[in-house]
Amino acid sequence: MTIASTYEVALAMIVLGLAAWIITAQKSFAAAGGFVAYGLLLPLVWVRLGGIDVALAEAAIGGGLSGVLLLGAAARLGTTETAVVAERPGVLVRLLASVLSAFIALSLAAVVLLLPDPGPTLAPAAVENSAATGLGNPVTNVLMAFRAMDTLLEKVVLLLALIGIWSLVPDRFWGGRPGMRHEADPRGVLAFLARLLPPLGIVIGLYVLWVGADHPGGAFQGGTILAAMWLLVMMAGLMDAPPISRRWLRLTLIAGPGIFLVVGLGGLWLGNAFLAYPSAYAKPLIVAIELAMTLTVAATLGLLMAGVPERRA
């Protein structure tokens, strides 16, 4: 066994150990904590699998945002745990469930090992056609050009999740501000961090977006960093969450898919096809869309984390 594969096996064991912990831990809070660690280790796996872009996205979302969301929920739901434990199925059912899950996992393992190696690939096609966009990062090319429709729909999915969350508001708070008001010590250490970090964070977020054209990175990863900065400022109490009825907020929330749609329709108009970029302007157009998407992603993620409006505007 080479050093590389020893490392990979060890990494896989730790990841699976954490996975088992997430499932079996007694307390939800501990399980959610395990999930944060799991989400931070997965990017290492993705690096080994040659997917740096995915590693960035997984670190930002899996370990970061999802982890925070689940930890927060676990903290709030701590009191309900004992009541629900009574609903735990009996030993026989659990045995049956474990046998069935194991069977499916085994067949999946067998099948995934038997997949053709080297497998079929679109990498040559993606590289060959990258001239059409002028971008050097093949993943960005797939997301923004070859499979732009998926990316467009995904942004609508994100917006829809937000509308779904908003639709849970008690009627009297409609149009109000999401989440609790955070009252932190304005001279405390958190407020200090929230003053110091965001300028840097915004630069890094935009940098990640910018390098995404040619290197790993992109709109989603950059947007997540911006969202984190926004959340930090809100948590430190330096800035309140905006009321969800604000027009500027709503414009930001649809800017990404909106501009995507407009450029896409422009492609239809200018002769080639829907979602086709005129070759002379492909790169600037894509960067413009990505910039709008970064802002939209940042706003959407921030509000998804903030949750259901609970206060009047």
Partner: protein, 112 residues
């Protein structure tokens, strides 16, 4: 043993664990966690597929990698919506369970 083999097995086991947790743990939050585990296993499968398609100097086939990025975003949106639903349910009822007494109908009319 290359990365694709190791992490392919890893993904399969993660899916198995996720399925087990989703079935047996009665707490909705743990089901959401298990769903995330399941999802990460599915994404690892895409990663394995991408790795095996490594060619022309790329570390992996960019198409499945792009699919995973889209998938991660969708899974996060799902998590956020599910958590919001759960917290709202908890706020209203003080409990967090999805076990319903099936015979008591969901749209109880206010007069009955």
């Amino acid at each position: 043993m290359n990365a694709a083999v190791v992490f392919g097995l890893c993904g399969a086991i993660a899916i198995g664990l996720g399925l087990y947790g989703l079935i047996t743990n009665p707490q909705p939050l743990r089901k959401i966690l298990a769903f995330n585990l399941l999802g990460s296993g599915a994404f690892l499968f895409f990663g394995v597929v991408a790795r095996r398609g490594a060619a022309v100097g790329l570390g992996g086939d960019p198409v499945p990698q792009a699919l995973v990025i889209t998938g991660i975003v969708v899974a996060f949106a799902a998590t956020a919506l599910a958590v919001a639903l759960l917290l709202r349910l908890f706020e209203m009822t003080g409990a967090a369970t999805i076990r319903a007494d099936t015979r008591s109908s969901p749209a109880d009319d206010p007069e009955a």
